[in-house]
Amino acid sequence: MTRPLLTIEGLAKSWRRPGGGLHEVLAGVSLSVPAEPQFISLLGPSGCGKSTLLRLVAGLDAPSAGRIDWSQAAFEAFGAARPSVGFVFQEPTLMPWASLFENVRLPLRVAGRSRREAREEVMAALDMVGLADRAGAYPRQLSGGQKMRVSIARALVMRPRVLLMDEPFAALDEITRHRLNDDLLSVWQASGATVLFVTHSVYESVYLSSRIITIGTGGAGPGRIIADRAVDAPYPRDEAFRTSDRYNALCRQVSADLRAASGGALEEVHA
């Protein structure tokens, strides 16, 4: 077996409360992400620390305790300094003053690549999300779903080993969300990256994931891992999967995990 891409051990994060004292968001989180591409959902109720975990993995915040170890393979695209990670926020987080092309080019530009060198990769990334013909448009001319697509293209333009997504579709309507779910799956399979996908939707996590990690406080205390469940349904997935018995059974199990994560009665899990 090859070395895991990412190993997290005993990770904890706490914030200092304004009035003094510590607020523990996460504690004792350990997990391992294998080298093979996976689609991992981090599922949990609001405020359980799943977004915090994502920010820790991205290196945007420093952990209070524990370790995050990346394998050497994770350090490819960005040079030796930082692991190759793409990040998609809950909001599209585009630069309103720049065209779609310039928005997607940003990571390459920061890395010192010229406009000419970057052109092909930027257009390929925009093409992947179906917006190549809008490269010259500005973000305000797009719908919410289209902006999210641009955000995903920007996250993928560096061909990262890991794509971190923080409830990216939470603000979208149901139909747009379903379409983006499908598109995300095909983009993910084409990219060969591992996705860490934060969500609070059981249905979304089951539909998308090959593995679902449920995080929660279990009623009190800091957030921790409540369940880590493989979703053994083959890709590609489509509407037929969404209405299958397998899907329904998985949704029931994961819903029980989520109830346990928010402190609901554990016996329901076994019922």
């Binding site: 040079g79 930082r82 990040f87 630069m95 003053w97 940003l106 920061v110 500005y138 305000r140």
Partner: protein, 257 residues
């Protein structure tokens, strides 16, 4: 900008009606021109005294433009310093506020005494009035960069200069331009006020000096002609900055859509 003709003509017709009313009332009541000249007298004076008014206009506009450019450049630099370091902000901001709230009329005599070159002393006065809105607005702009975009730049390992030029400055641009638009009017006011102070002391300068001098000579029509030119330059300056703002922001900012 495809407003119907009537809508565009309305303000022009209204102003024309006011001027006609003014002309009529003054003529019917035989108001002497050293109390209140008619618009037509003022227009004639404007043309006849052009050799005096034109250099004065150039002088005043020159001081205003120089003060505005100085506040645009120095204001932005100061704002960048303050947003880079909380220490600098804490040290300098109170001083900027003190300068802002102290009436320029009260400081102008001192500056005119200290600085021998008239033009430079006027420029300093106009600058002192104009530069605070730029600093205040640009600082606000630089500090209101979207937190997630900031995080994204961190994630990609952006260097400080990349962050400054590709994130902070574009984010701050709408605020900066709004500050500049306020400063344009203030620079003109600052220049005119300082000219008044200098002019009362007998120093020849721009349009405000023409007004002071015309007052001594009871030449109200020339005074009004100079006043008209000051207002006209103020309006032109505002329109110019608005035009630049629109051109720079039209693709993306709500204020310019």
């Amino acid at each position: 900008m495809n407003r119907p003709l009537a809508q565009r003509l309305a303000p022009i017709l209204f102003i024309a009606a006011l001027l006609a009313l003014w002309e009529g009332v003054v003529r019917l009541n035989h108001v002497p021109s050293f109390i209140l000249p008619t618009p037509s007298q003022i227009a004639i004076r404007l043309v006849e005294d052009w050799p005096i008014l034109w250099p004065a206009l150039v002088y005043t506009c020159g001081v205003t433009a120089a003060a505005l450019i100085a506040s645009g450049v120095l204001g932005l630099m100061l704002a960048m310093l303050m947003s880079a370091s909380a220490w600098v902000e804490r040290m300098i901001y109170p001083l900027a506020v003190v300068l802002q709230v102290t009436p320029i009329v009260a400081i102008a005599p001192l500056i005119i005494i200290w600085v021998h070159d008239t033009r430079l002393s006027l420029l300093i006065c106009a600058f002192l009035v104009a530069f605070f809105p730029v600093v205040a607005n640009a600082t606000t702009g630089l500090n209101s960069v979207d937190g997630n975009l900031r995080a994204l730049f961190t994630l990609y390992g952006a260097r400080p200069w990349q962050r400054l030029f590709w994130l902070s400055l574009p984010s701050a641009l709408p605020y900066y331009l709004a500050g500049l638009r306020i400063s344009g009017g203030l620079a003109l006011i600052g220049a005119v006020v300082a000219e008044f102070v200098a002019g009362t002391g007998g120093t020849r300068s721009g349009l405000a000096f023409v007004i002071v001098e015309s007052g001594y000579r009871l030449s109200m029509d020339r005074m009004f002609a100079a006043l008209f030119l000051i207002s006209a330059s103020g309006i032109l300056l505002y329109a110019l900055i608005s035009r630049i703002t629109r051109a720079l922001l039209r693709h993306w900012h709500e204020s310019a859509l």
